[in-house]
Every structure is written in C-alpha cells, then in structure tokens.
C-alpha cells in the first residue's frame, strides 16, 4: 500500500461520537452535549483541550469524575465507534 492510500483511508475514517456532561461539569463546559470526531477517549480529551480552558479540562480529568461509554463505566483509553455516547459524571449525590 502506498502512504497516500493510507492517508486517504485515515481521512475517510471519521468517528463521530456524542459527549455528554452532567451537573456541575455541564455548567463548567457550558453545554450538555457535543458531537466530536474521536477514535478513542484520549482523542476526546485532545479535542476538548482545543476548545475549553485548562481549568475546565482539569475538572473533566479530576480523579473523582467517572466516565461512561454507552452507559458503562470505563477506565483507561477505550476505543470508540461511530455513534458511541461518552459521558462525564461528577460524584453522584442521589438517594
């Protein structure tokens, strides 16, 4: 395969995922939901870092913030598929 073909296939490989924010994180980010192109969770953070302040990004990366993909808690850097729903969940206070 030529490098040009690989480049073209990469360019065509857009992975649109929705990213949702809840409670104080929603208020910090200023929107409830975003549609972004990200093939894994690290890429989500990269995209967010281009749009939001370091302070907001630090809040999203806080140790007590849990991240879910399609309603399932995840850790590390899971690979994402088109249409996946990523959610940033601050510490819960129900009951």
């Amino acid at each position: 395969m030529t490098s040009q073909a690989q480049t073209l296939s990469l360019r065509g490989n857009v992975t649109m995922v929705s990213v949702r924010f809840f409670a104080e994180l929603r208020e910090a980010v200023g929107v409830a939901e975003l549609e972004i192109d990200a093939m894994d969770l690290d890429a989500v953070f990269t995209v967010l870092a281009k749009t939001y302040s370091a302070d907001v990004c630090a809040q999203l990366r806080a140790d007590n913030v849990r991240i879910a993909v399609n309603h399932e808690l995840v850790s590390g850097n899971p690979t994402l598929s088109g249409g996946d729903e990523v959610a940033f969940l601050p510490p819960v206070t129900g009951g």
């Binding site: 949702r20 809840f22 409670a23 104080e24 879910a68 309603h71 959610a87 969940l89 601050p90 510490p91 819960v92 206070t93 129900g94 009951g95």
Partner: protein, 162 residues
C-alpha cells in the same frame, strides 16, 4: 427496562406500591419494609445554614436506571427478597416533598430491613443522580458525604458491591 425501578418527576403513592408488592409476593412474604426519603427544609450539608427553597435532581436517562438495577441485583443475591422496588424522583422538588422510595418484601423481617437499608445506602453512593440545592444565597451542587461513604464501606466489608 427494569420493572423494579421507576425514575419520574411526579410524586408517588406509597400505598399503591406497597399493595403491588404485597400482591406480587402472593403469600410468600411475611414482611414488607418501605422507606421514604423526604426533602428537608434545612440542610446541614451546605453549611451556610440557609433554608432550602428547592432541590433539583438531575439524572442521566438510561444510565440512572441501570445503576439502580445493579444495586437491586446485589441486594437480591445477598438476601432472600421476593420483591424490591425503587422509585426516585427527578426535577425540582420542594421541602417536605417525597424524593425516594425503597420497598423490600421477604419471608422474614430481617432480610427485608437489611435489603432496604442496603439499597438506600448504595443509592447515595452509586445511583447516577445529582442534587442541586437552591437557597436565598444561591445554587449549590451538593457534595457526597463521608458518612454516606462510611455506610457503604460497612456493607462492603461484609460482602457488598465489588
């Protein structure tokens, strides 16, 4: 969809849910425990001593139900309960409003009491819900408390959620 779990903005009728559980148990239950959580008008958590005008509960449709189902599954593996129900309200609530109902049916009272307490304790730490308190001083997202975490640790030590 888990018929044991209801998330709703409207109020609930404890008597109706109790009766449903009683009918469902069909004579096997010797005990039904119901617990109802209410909105206080004075919240020590905020620390400023201001009266609470309203409490707003936010949820994540789908994941909230799923998180509560997982708690109920754990309770059902730990105790021989014949029925479990959780109703949790979301949206804007006022002081004295009902927020949450937990009901547990079992052959004997010890299991019903324990299962209801277990579910309520884990609702505080694991259910995907967030509370915002409105007082004359402003709006504050509530923080989880160390007492809530300690109550769950107690269950964890005796074989709770892993």
């Amino acid at each position: 969809m888990d018929s044991r779990v209801q998330i709703q903005s409207e109020d609930f009728d404890v008597a109706r849910i109790y009766t449903e559980l009683r009918v469902q148990a069909a004579g096997h239950a010797g005990a039904i425990v119901t617990f109802v959580g209410l909105v206080r008008d004075h919240n020590a958590l905020a620390g400023d001593g201001a009266d609470v005008d309203a409490l707003v509960l936010e949820h994540y449709p789908g994941m909230t139900e799923r998180s509560i189902s997982a708690i109920l599954d754990q309770a059902q593996t730990r105790w021989p309960v014949s029925g479990l129900r959780v109703v949790h309200r979301v949206g804007e609530l006022l002081p004295r409003d009902q927020i949450v109902l937990v009901a547990a049916a079992s052959a004997h009272r010890a299991a019903a009491f324990a299962a209801a307490e277990f579910v309520m304790d884990y609702l505080k730490t694991d259910a995907v819900l967030w509370k915002r308190e409105h007082t004359r001083l402003g709006r504050t997202w509530l923080k989880s408390t160390s007492q809530d975490a300690a109550r769950v640790d107690k269950w964890h030590e005796s074989g709770g959620l892993t």
